[in-house]
Symmetry: C2
Subunit: 318 residues, 2 copies
């Protein structure tokens, strides 16, 4: 097995872009060809999410290195939702995609360890040949929340390293009120900078072959100044950057997240890609029946935007 960050770099070099497609299915936004929005039964909604996400994966697997399913949207539909999520994760991995499960978990001791064991992939699901439906979640990486302190992150780090997986710790989030506690000034710097320093120490401890640790950070696209500052102070920490597109982040905003090789960050977009068929610029070109063509066009558009703003060698088209 290969270190998580080295697998990530290989996937980025193969597709030559840092796009992460957020798998955030929403019942009310699904193409009418997939699901009746009035459908209430958990199993049927979960099946529709599975069909939809597999359709997205079929489009984006040749284009991008990473997908990020949002656990909440599946959890909402109980055990059938978890079944759908497990099968989508396994399917994405079977198509060569790196899967980051956005679960934002955080707890202590043996509880944190149970989360890590339940969410991060055992090696049997790391094989591209595996397309069966597992009965556990098995992602390549998971997002975690640092509020409970260093001993709450440690069990996640230990399980991630043992399973050749990764973590992304929330540092500076993309939402408007994210600063309420994250931006409080303590000892001359904001709380998120204290979290950043701790995450950087975990990254240094878990280095892979390309200078980045298995422990990364979530840093929002909507705060470009802080993003560039954190890039400078966290040289060994890979960034997962949410907030691109519908939350207002642009390719210029995220350019500061990359090193000069074009490594160091992946940039997520969820609704802007998944539900592109509803965007004004695609609505006329593609109706709901051609929603996959809209995903394809929007994903290629985002790739082009990021390449234009970050002209590093590994992100240039061959």
């Amino acid at each position: 097995m290969t270190h998580f960050m080295d697998r990530l770099v290989v996937a980025i070099q193969a597709r030559r872009n840092p796009v992460c497609v957020g798998l955030d299915p929403r019942r009310a936004l699904l193409p009418s060809t997939i699901c009746d929005a009035d459908e209430l039964d958990n199993r049927r909604v979960a099946d529709a999410y599975s069909t939809f996400c597999r359709g997205v994966i079929d489009v984006v697997a040749p284009l991008v290195p990473v997908v990020k399913p949002q656990s909440a949207f599946f959890e909402e539909f109980g055990a059938p939702g978890i079944d759908a999520l497990a099968s989508i994760i396994a399917y994405a991995r079977s198509r060569g995609l790196i899967v980051i499960l956005d679960a934002k978990r955080g707890d202590i001791g043996s509880t944190a360890e149970a989360y890590a064991r339940g969410l991060l992939g055992s090696s049997e699901f790391n094989s591209p040949e595996n397309t069966g439906v597992p009965d556990s979640l098995a992602a390549d990486a998971v997002t975690v929340n640092p509020y409970l302190g260093g001993d709450s992150l440690r069990p996640f780090v230990d399980v991630a390293i043992a399973r050749h997986c990764g973590l992304f710790v929330l540092v500076k989030t993309s939402n408007p009120d994210g600063g309420l506690f994250q931006d409080l000034e303590a000892d001359g710097r904001p709380v998120y900078a204290h979290v950043a320093a701790h995450v950087e120490s975990l990254a240094r401890e878990t280095l892979g072959g390309h200078g980045y640790g298995a422990v990364g950070a979530v840093v929002g696209a909507t705060y470009p100044d802080q993003l560039a500052q954190l890039r400078a102070t966290m040289p060994q920490t890979w960034f997962l950057v949410p907030g691109y597109g519908s939350q207002g982040g642009t390719a210029t905003d995220v350019a500061g997240a990359f090193d000069d090789r074009g490594f160091g960050a992946i940039v997520n977009n969820s609704r802007g890609l998944l539900f592109a068929y509803r965007r004004p610029e695609y609505m006329d070109r593609f109706g709901p029946a051609r929603w996959q063509d809209a995903v394809d066009a929007a994903t290629r558009g985002m790739i082009a935007e990021l390449r234009a703003a970050t002209p590093a060698g590994n992100l240039a088209p061959r």
Copy 2:
């Protein structure tokens, strides 16, 4: 439907104690009569957890007002684990227990709303007559993490209020390294005090009939000074107090969490009650086959300890 805090007060007045039994099943600690610790299949472990937790509920339902299942231990076993958790929550509610799901979720916008909808009970499960197995989780309250700021808590508050449910926001956690970020000093007070002030404002906004809001706080038993200080600065906020027993918190440590009526706090113990049959003082009296008698004895012992340390009227035996 009744306000969450009023339901909680009624349950406490009926049992005359503030004990919360943490439902943290651990495969390796289960009585041998329930499960072979070497069992690996997710469905069988989930079934064993269900059998064990129902057995605990049968013992504690007449004794205590609240149980708190730990989501991580069920999530670890995929969809079968979620099925077991849903059925345990419904069973506990059917036995008249208040159920707080310890999930420590935190996210933004529509994602936070999806978590809240997926975890908090719709009214159909509030009926004691309902003993069927739902296919969604439906707890009376859920624990949440504040790191993402005020707009991340808002969707949880809105769903909780609409469904007559409650929240407990992490403020000061019980783990040894909980202070790494929570204790950072900002504007002359620790970060957790800033979180506490925000939670108190949410409590004031969601008041029930006994002077407490539907939004409560998690404050660890292992920091008794901070617990008493927070009680003084958060008069409208009900506390969920973890850390009693195996983490080192005592009845004296938590006495400061109560108001003079004996309201304002519930005190959680998980391993010390669930796996009491393994404790030296019970091991000889009760073997593994009488593990339920050990749960009964340990729960009655904890009730007596809390009553002795907090001699308020509502906690005195009739």
